[in-house]
Amino acid sequence: MKYITTIDEKEFLVEIIDDRHVSIDGKVVEVDFESIQEQPVFSLIVDEKSYEAYVYHGEEGLEVLVKGRLYHSVVEDERERRLRAASGGAVAQSGTLHLKAPMPGLIVAVSVEVGQEVKKGDVLLILESMKMQNELKSPRDGVISRIEVGAGDSVEQRQKMLSIE
């Protein structure tokens, strides 16, 4: 079985040969992979090097914690990859982005207006939660197309707050 696995924007071609062998980018390695009972923890021994991985489902794909660093992964098999390629691939990137509340809280201030151009990193609004004021920044360049909240509003977790075209 062949997979295209993306780790933080870097692609790996991973083929599962049998229970003890995997090839990664064409290189065959011997793997000893074990799920730890009752825990979301896996032990992987590759060429006698021991790795402990904590794995959980993130927004898209699995989050993998290895040696203190968190890796975001997307695993696709060849069919999935072809389907995505056919449908235009990275189209979502340039479409509308909805800024959702990362946690419930109170809108302290909205720093932008509809129609305003924003750069990646610009502060869009301030959300008060956990007794802290948190600046929410734009994840990319764009134009504010819609604002659905105002200062003083309470928002629920994942509530849409504004949109960027």
Binding site: I7, D19, P40, L44, Y54, V55, Y56, V108, M132, Q157
Partner: protein, 502 residues
């Protein structure tokens, strides 16, 4: 003398105090909000009473209700912990008026020292140097503060008079931005302390934040437990503390200790308290404020002095004399505390809410964890984001740093983001290792990304793990594998894991 203590707090500090009570053989009463029904402090106490809905203003800040519960339960004393009602003189007074023991200083000491403006005046009168700022103790309006600001000089700080922990604090670089900052400082202070009064203080650049722990009994004994180095802050929130301070010398320690004891004596202080100072590069120190309560970072002092500060607080509240004298206090080794917050250090330290699906605490030699969370704990947006404190001791500062690295590597939290990577980067920072930092270091000079960049990464390992996990999951879904006791598949899968993560 009381034999039952009500703990008017939640989270790790409630558990910390419950442990001290248990070690003293005292009965305990926990209080909880609706959000905290499953919390460790509720399960750990002898008795538990519901306070009210989740928001602090309807639960942990309801002093009236808390006193009512103390009386109903027969608790003879109330320990306020830190935050919430800990530095409210009116609450301390109400506790006393109800015939209960307040485990902390007297209401008058809290009023004198807890109000930052009055404290500054008290210290100035006693000849202790203070950071220049708005003198006097009357409450000032925005208009008055704006008028006084140029005299204090920019940059300056707006600080909450009832404050602590950086809440209601704002840095001001010019008069133009001041009105807006005053407004937000007052709002934050109101939310945190129920009091929106603020004052101004000159910002001393290049300074270190060093504080002295004191303990005092009802018999006039005041002893200091040496210093803590608390310069590593972000938005005026301490992130990491250590004892002793890397810049400390015997002379400075003696001088600062003497001032701290003097400050305590000036207000007939009782119980644990902390004198916070700024120390400039010439080792001049300025009184900043006194925290008339237990500090978050008290464990590092416990580790280097061997004194259990919380037990000592309870002992002196029961009328006992301090169990040690000034000459018994010796600093041994070095201790570091990392505050583990549910915050994403890769995303501007955004708080992270949700359920901790799995947690592994570090353990073994020289490692202490104070926490109130567990696998399954839900982090709500109602309270602050600190989920635990990781504290280590080492024979030397270098060994403490190496041990902290080891402990951070063992600490695993699944389900929410934490600032563990920040602390790991800090432990690798040459400036930190060299002890070369001031209060602006974290915000202005420290780059987590830079330090992380140089480290070895394992994207290939992550790719193999992710692929094997997904592969197995797909196989299972396709074949509907029978789940027997023994699964011969090598990358066997746990149903719990699947359920947890779907």
């Amino acid at each position: 003398m009381f034999n039952k203590v009500l703990i008017a707090n939640r989270g790790e500090i409630a558990v910390r105090i419950l442990r001290a009570c248990r070690e003293l053989g005292l009965q305990t009463v926990a209080i909880y909000s609706e959000a905290d029904r499953q919390a460790m402090h509720v399960r750990y106490a002898t008795e538990a009473y519901l306070l009210g809905p989740a928001p602090s203003s309807e639960s942990y800040l309801r002093g009236d209700k808390i006193i009512e519960i103390a009386l109903k339960s027969g608790a003879g004393a109330i320990h306020p912990g830190y935050g919430f009602l800990a530095e409210r003189a009116d609450f301390a007074q109400a506790v006393e008026d109800a015939g209960l023991e307040f485990i902390g200083p007297s209401a008058s000491a809290i009023a004198a020292m807890g109000d930052k403006a009055i404290a500054r005046e008290t210290m100035m009168k006693a000849g202790v140097p203070v950071v220049p700022g708005t003198e006097g103790t009357e409450l000032l309006s925005d208009e008055e503060l704006l008028k006084l600001a140029p005299d204090v000089g920019f940059p300056l700080l707006i600080k909450a008079t009832a404050g602590g922990g950086g809440k209601g604090m704002r840095e001001v670089t010019n008069i133009e931005e001041m009105p807006t900052l005053l407004k937000s400082a007052r709002r934050e202070a109101k939310a945190a302390f129920g009091d929106d009064n603020v004052y101004l203080e000159k910002l001393i650049l290049g300074a270190r934040h060093i504080e002295i722990q004191i303990l005092a009994d009802k018999h006039g004994n005041v002893v200091h437990l040496t210093e803590r180095e608390c310069s590593l802050q972000r938005r005026h929130q301490k992130l990491l503390e250590e004892a002793p301070s890397p810049i400390m010398d015997d002379d400075l320690r003696k001088r600062m200790g003497a001032v701290a004891v003097q400050a305590g004596q000036a207000v007939n202080y009782e119980s644990a308290g902390t004198i916070e100072c700024l120390v400039d590069s010439e080792k001049n120190f300025y009184f900043l404020e006194m925290n008339t309560r237990l500090q978050v970072e008290h464990p590092i002092t416990e580790l280097v002095t061997g004194v259990d500060i919380v037990k000592e607080q309870i002992r002196v509240a029961r009328g006992r004399k301090l169990s040690f004298a000034q000459e018994d206090i010796q600093v041994k080794g070095a201790a570091i505390e990392c505050r583990i917050n549910a915050e994403d250090p890769h995303n501007n330290f955004m708080p992270s809410t949700g359920r901790i699906s799995h947690i592994v605490l570090p353990s073994g030699p020289g490692v202490r964890v104070d926490t109130g969370v567990y696998s399954g704990f839900e982090i709500t947006p109602y309270y602050d984001s600190m989920i635990s404190k990781l504290i280590v001791w080492g024979e030397t500062r270098a060994q403490a740093i190496l041990r902290m690295r080891r402990a951070l590597a063992e600490y695993k939290v699944v389900g929410v983001r934490t600032n563990i990577p920040f602390h790991q980067a800090m432990m690798d920072s040459h400036r930190f290792m060299g002890g070369q930092f001031d209060t602006r270091f974290v915000e202005e000079e420290f780059s987590m990304e830079e330090i992380v960049e140089g480290k070895e990464t394992f994207p290939d390992i992550a790719a193999i793990v992710a692929t094997l996990v997904m592969h197995d999951q797909t196989e299972r879904a396709a074949h509907v594998v029978r789940r027997g006791e023994r699964d011969t598949s090598n990358w066997k899968w746990l149903s719990r894991w699947e359920r947890l993560n779907r």
